[in-house]
Amino acid sequence: MVLSTLLALSLAAVADAHRLDEYLQATLIGVTPGGIELEIQLTPGVAMLPVLMTVIDQDRDGRISPEEERTYVERVARDVELRVDGVQAPLALLESSFPTVESMREGLGTIRMKLRTARTGHELRFENRHLPQISVYLVNCLAAPSDGLVVSRQQRDEAQRSIAFEYSFATIALGPFWPAAIGIPLLARLALLIYRAKRDKRSSRVRPPNAVTG
């Protein structure tokens, strides 16, 4: 109710231009043989800042203290869930950064945080339950060609609050375009072998009877 009222009041003052009445929560999931990293970027629209400040700015002084930053980041970390092979994975905060309130007031500020688990497996499910009343979501799995990451069809809900997929690592690093990576060199090799066979056949035909090899 409080959020809805604040949202209505904020929208009344909104002009044109960029992200306004949404809180964009974009997550990129990095899967490696050694664990899983979540890179979360939170960008409040201009009209969303007053709403978000009621959550972050606990002492209502119009500023975000380091303690309030830490408390908020911990809340976000609690509101997201990562499951690996069906089991909830513990997430450690690697880093976080906050923009100035002024830049968020202009719709520019992005809160960034990185979470990591060392848990590995073959099936992953991520869900973001943070502030659904005001948010839109993006969630994607990063490609990792150097690790040979192979990801099955990704399943999401309509709002992109959750994603699930199976994954594995090829023995050689091939990346998401591995069929082309395998196929093109194989075809090239095949073409070379055919060419050499034809060439050898031709040269054996013209070789004089007394020719020797060696």
């Binding site: 002009a15 044109d16 231009a17 960029h18 992200r19 306004l20 009445d21 949404e22 964009l24 974009a26 990129l28 629209g45 202009e106 719709g107 520019l108 839109v136 979501y137 993006l138 994607n140 799995c141 990063l142 490609a143 060609p145 990801v151 990704q154 999401r156 809900d157 309509e158 709002a159 992109q160 998401p176 375009f177 069929p179 082309a180």
Partner: protein, 336 residues
């Protein structure tokens, strides 16, 4: 009238790029040197950066320059001859249609300025608020780079010898349709119409593969996402017939063809050679005129087209991104 003068004046005064294959790079360098020689020492020191200046290289955005300041020289601070020389340089690096697209985007921002009314303070939009910068020394031998951009536009053109690399670049439009002297202008109209034609050219089974079952609110790999690649989704183009693949390549050409024809031909050949390993994903309705997101992703290509649900009708506010994950900023050739 002023708008018409700007649009037609720059287009018609001999600035349409000449595309003679061998001499393109030389003409670009000559145009760059012509622009630099039109500047005074103070301006030159503002427009020139080291080629390896990574911070400057990544200093681009979809946002207005009043919100995210750009470095370099502001068009509004140049004299008329200097501005003409800057636009000549840009025209020399782009194809005719690419240059027209850029002018239409810039002109759209001038329209936005007019329609946004008196918000107080300095203007946020308009063709005076676009910036130009040069990284490195213009040369036909050594790599260098031109950046031109502002609100809804970021062109990062790396020249390596005769090769021109346009990735990463951002094009956008708000309003996506406007009228100048009775003529309707849609800066990204072909990107919209060709995509709707393609999705509707797929059969039911193909469309089922292509259409994602979730909403996409924004660009995934937009400004600030350098060096990242996501898992491809949608329909793989190997499952398309030749006609559908040709439609997809024609659509890709709306981005790949912004740069001069010589560079565009090489780029399109590369993209075509990978077409079977390229993916096409769609989110949203399939009736032209409605807002829909799409992504084209291949081994050397990422294109996203994202209507923005901001400021009213999403079809009137479009953001796009064009990347080559293997060669953004020419990294394959110059190693940065």
């Amino acid at each position: 009238m002023v708008r018409t003068t700007f649009l037609l004046g720059v287009l018609c005064c001999g600035l349409a790029p000449a595309q003679n294959s061998l001499s393109v790079a030389s003409k670009i360098v000559a145009s760059a040197n012509g622009f630099l020689s039109s500047l005074d020492d103070g301006q030159r020191s503002k427009v020139l950066f080291e080629f390896n200046d990574a911070a400057q290289r990544m200093k681009w955005s979809n946002l207005p320059t009043t919100m995210v300041p750009r470095a370099g020289l502001k068009m509004g601070d140049l004299s008329a001859p200097q501005r003409k020389a800057a636009m000549e340089l840009l025209a020399s690096m782009l194809s005719t249609r690419g240059y027209e697209k850029v002018l239409a985007i810039v002109e759209g921002d001038e329209v936005l300025k007019g329609s946004s009314g008196g918000r107080g303070g300095p203007p946020m939009f308009g063709h005076d608020l676009y910036y130009i910068s040069i990284l490195g020394k213009p040369s036909v031998n050594d790599p260098w780079m031109l950046q031109f951009g502002g609100h809804h536009l970021a062109l990062n053109i790396t020249m390596v010898g005769r090769d021109g690399i346009l990735t990463p670049s951002h094009t956008a439009a708000q309003p996506a349709k406007y009228t100048v002297d009775g003529k309707t202008v849609r800066p990204l109209g072909a990107e919209n119409d060709k995509a709707f034609a393609l999705i509707n050219a797929l059969d039911e089974g193909q469309r089922k593969q292509a259409i994602l079952n979730y909403k996409v609110a924004d660009l995934v790999l937009g400004p600030g996402k350098d060096g990242k690649t996501i898992q491809p989704e949608g329909i793989k183009c190997s499952a398309m017939n030749a006609s559908q693949q040709a439609m997809l390549l024609d659509l890709v050409g709306e981005w790949a063809g912004i740069i001069n024809e010589q560079a565009a031909v090489a780029r399109m050949a590369e993209i075509k050679s990978n077409v079977s390993a390229t993916w096409f994903a769609w989110s949203g309705p399939t009736t032209n005129g409605t807002p829909a997101y799409y992504r084209i992703q291949g081994p050397t290509l990422v294109i996203e087209y994202a209507p923005q649900p901001l400021g009213g009708d999403p079809t009137m506010h479009i953001h796009t991104i064009y990347r080559d994950p293997t060669n953004d900023y020419g990294k394959k050739s110059v190693g940065h």
